[in-house]
Amino acid sequence: MSNALTNAPQRPNILFICTDQQRGDSLGCTGAPWAHTPNLDQMAAQGALFENCYVQNPVCSPSRASVFTGKYVSNHGLYANGVPLPRDQHMFTRTLADAGYDCGMIGKQHLSPCDTWRTEPRRDDGYRVFEWAHGPNHRALENDYHRWLRQTHPDLYQQIFPDTGANENTEYSNQARTGTPIDHVPKEAHYSHWVGERAIDFISHARGPDEPFFLMANFFDPHHSFGAPQEFRDLIDADAIPAPVTKPGELDEKPEPHRAYSEKSYSGTAPGFQDYTAEQIKEIRAQYWAMIALIDHEVGRILAALKAAGLAENTLVVFSSDHGELLGNHQQLLKGPQLYDDLTRVPLVMRWPNVIGAENKVSELVQWVDLPATFLAASGCAPGQGVQGQSVLPLATGGSDNWRSWAISEYRYSGFTTDPLIMTTMVRHHEWKLILWHGEPACGTQRDGELYNLSDDPSELHNRFHDPDCAEIRRRMKGVMLDAMAQTEDRSESRQRPW
């Protein structure tokens, strides 16, 4: 363990800023010079930037369940959107609250179904503050963003939502080809601004000297629908953004379902890449980075509030996202069973002054399942039963030379369902990445796969799965996947007797 970590302040505040559907390479500091992310870039410069953070699932709810429970998707039971997190699963926020942390959650959580404008129920979550809004277009009566909007901008609210909303209109924003009206409201009325406002309020709450806080501030953006306030769209030069990554005939060398996901997104239920012109895709990409620019603006305000409250030194700030977005790459949009880095690799930035040194770029493979272990380690709490990840603090502070060399992501018909069902598993080991499209007895899809060498093909354009020259590496990677699957099983039930 590094000296910095040994001497770290006890029980720091923890501020976890989480976005939705944000690619790992979407920040200025992660390879997107056209991005307008000065605050996040500065935060990365002041702390640790994890270059290879993988989520355990490429869609919202299963991925978030991994972060709240610290378990892999095959263990926590929330394998698909629309499945509630099983009641016996323990949230790390409960552990923090029991240890005296003042816990809060603002924005989207998604540990239970939210379809048909359902209000997400509270769990044994340990929060004092739960200001929930599944999204800006989500019409639950208890959408706290809408409550705020009704109070702060009543005319705007009435104009955008003139009626009470119909339950069958629940996929309104999924099916929108462009931004919806609520995406384009002035900054001061935007969901991202609401998250910033409420986070600042939470940070400013009076607390005792031995009452640290944990806050998860959840932005909905840059989740589609693709739209942002005009002043942030104006910050983005669409011409500076490269065209989507693909090559002629790419879909021909990928497993068959890729073709269907190119035609339509969300298992055939939402507009697909092929429904758009190149010019429209270009605008989608610009709007995507405009949403990120607004997030960055709000992150800047939150960090400034932290500083103004005198809490910057003693707060571990973490920025990440629950999964990525295809954004036209590989001739596809949104997300689904595809386990490209576009969807599985997310930004991860950590700042903790005097503990995490500046300009620390971490190239090791870390995973979202490591985040709760990290929060618990920082807080001095023991990891709860079943928490499977490892604290990344030793990596962030430059004191670990024995980190795992693999990452796993598991899709279990987690997005919109298909017939037959689709299940995919990704394992990355050093520079190689294997994606299996499972067949019988797991599901009725034709068994197939993808194999990429990320060192010479970081965009995952050249599928080597069926390349005879790669047969040995393919078999070896299947073995790594078998070992990783065995390693990640939940064997946390205690063995009380030898037999």
């Binding site: 959107n81 629309g82 509630p84 179904p113 693999w406 299947k478 790594v480 390693q487 939940d490």
Partner: protein, 425 residues
């Protein structure tokens, strides 16, 4: 039109008994052999683990290791899981168990308790050598033959010194047939059948112990145990008495009798291999009115047992269930698979899969190493004894990879996805 009579269920459960042993010892096991011929028999029923605790947890819940979480002996079945006997109790059945259960750790002469409301009668005994003060068999033996008991067990048991003296082993082996553990199990079952005062349907479990450890500590260097032939014959005779008893009570028509084993067994005296066929391959046999006796050789798992019982008794299964009723037809063109795992602490983890003629065993390493697991590949059709490992044979490279694919998919198939999807997102 009257509603159909509820089906009584009698589960005759052996601790360690492979299909191979049933066949090898057929002549010495007249009742079992005859029962096999008169039943719907699945001789390719695989346990989920060669260890007793995980295998029993699967058999009593219909769940795989990945769901019930009992990954090794000594791990108790989590409270959240519903056993088949709890479910039948909830449906108005009178439930009883006589003999072994093993759904929690019992070493150090630890007593195993029934769950609240699980059994109306719980005549529990892990085996004749297990010295828990609550061992119902030893209490009975002491009452039946106090002097003999005092000779066999001259001292109070010590939970920190649980080796079974050889003299005790000899004395238990030498007990008269009617004083043996399995005869006691049979007596208790028959007493329940004869003593029924109501028309309440029943679900009885006869927990026979035929493994050579007889409830004493297992060999720490080996997983699984060989069968004790004398104990097995006592159980065989017991089965005959139970069937006679059912017939005498005019209950055969509306009682489903199931013979099953928790797991397989090991070759006597041979070096044990926990992943060999005989360690996990057992038979499931159903004798019930309306089901035509036949042999069904498809690969099934012992986790399919309880869904089948729910099907027979027309009881809705609990929400958490993974096995499927064996009465349902074959729905897939792909040959069924069996997957079993060894996850004992301190030992190398192993996973095996069987599909069609082929069997693959993977000895897991660390994924960090980047090496593949050490594989063993067998063609069970031409090499049922698993003597010729083909994993390194270049001629079978395609077969090896095909079975690796099957293992990966079978592993995914058994993940816990029992929580229902109630909305699109």
């Amino acid at each position: 039109m009257y509603p159909p009579m509820p089906q009584n269920i009698l589960l005759i459960l052996f601790d360690s008994l492979s299909t191979a042993t049933c066949v090898d010892l057929a002549e010495q096991l007249p009742t079992l052999t005859q029962f096999r011929g008169n039943s719907l028999c699945f001789p390719n029923a695989y346990a989920s683990s060669p260890e007793s605790g995980p295998a029993r947890a699967s058999l009593f819940t219909g769940l795989d290791l990945s769901a019930h979480g009992v990954w090794s002996d000594g791990v108790a079945l989590p409270e959240r899981e519903t056993t088949v006997t709890e479910r039948f109790t909830d449906q108005g059945y009178e439930t009883w168990l006589c003999g072994r259960r093993h759904l929690s750790g019992v070493s150090n002469w630890t007593t195993e308790h029934a769950r609240p409301f699980e059994f109306a009668q719980f005549d529990w005994a892990h085996g004749p050598h297990h010295r828990s003060r609550q061992n119902a068999y030893l209490t009975w033996l002491q009452a039946q033959a106090p002097e003999l008991y005092a000779q066999i067990f001259p001292k109070q048991p010590n939970p920190d010194a649980t080796d079974v003296p050889e003299a005790q082993r000899r004395a238990i082996r030498a007990l008269a047939h009617e004083l043996s553990f399995n005869s006691w199990v049979t007596d208790r079952i028959c007493a329940h059948i004869k003593g029924r005062a109501t028309d309440q349907p029943f679900f009885g479990v006869a927990g026979y112990v035929v493994g050579q450890d007889q409830g004493g500590p297992p060999d720490p260097d080996h997983i699984g145990e060989a069968v004790d032939p004398a104990a097995l014959q006592q159980a065989d005779a017991g089965l005959a008495r139970i069937l006679d008893c059912l017939s005498g009570a005019d209950l055969l028509q509306n009682t489903t009798v199931v013979v099953a084993a928790t797991r397989g067994d090991q070759d006597a005296g041979a070096t044990s291999d926990p992943m060999k066929q005989r360690a996990v391959q057992t038979s499931l046999m159903f004798q019930t009115a309306g089901i035509t006796p036949r042999i069904d050789s498809r690969v099934v798992t012992t986790a399919d047992l309880v869904p089948t019982l729910y099907d027979i008794a027309k009881i809705r299964p609990p929400r958490r269930i993974q096995g499927t009723s064996l009465l349902s037809g074959v729905t897939s063109a792909v040959p069924p698979t069996a997957l079993f795992r060894l996850r004992r602490a301190g030992q190398q983890m192993q996973t095996a899969v069987v599909q069609g003629d082929w069997k693959l065993i993977a000895e897991h390493g660390q994924p960090d190493d980047g090496h593949a697991p050490r594989y063993r590949l067998y063609n069970l059709n031409v090499d049922p004894g698993e003597a010729h490992d083909l994993a390194a044979d270049p001629a079978h490279m395609a077969d090896l990879e095909a079975m690796i694919d099957v293992m990966l998919d079978a592993r995914v198939a058994r993940e816990d996805r029992t929580e229902p999807r109630i909305a699109k997102f």
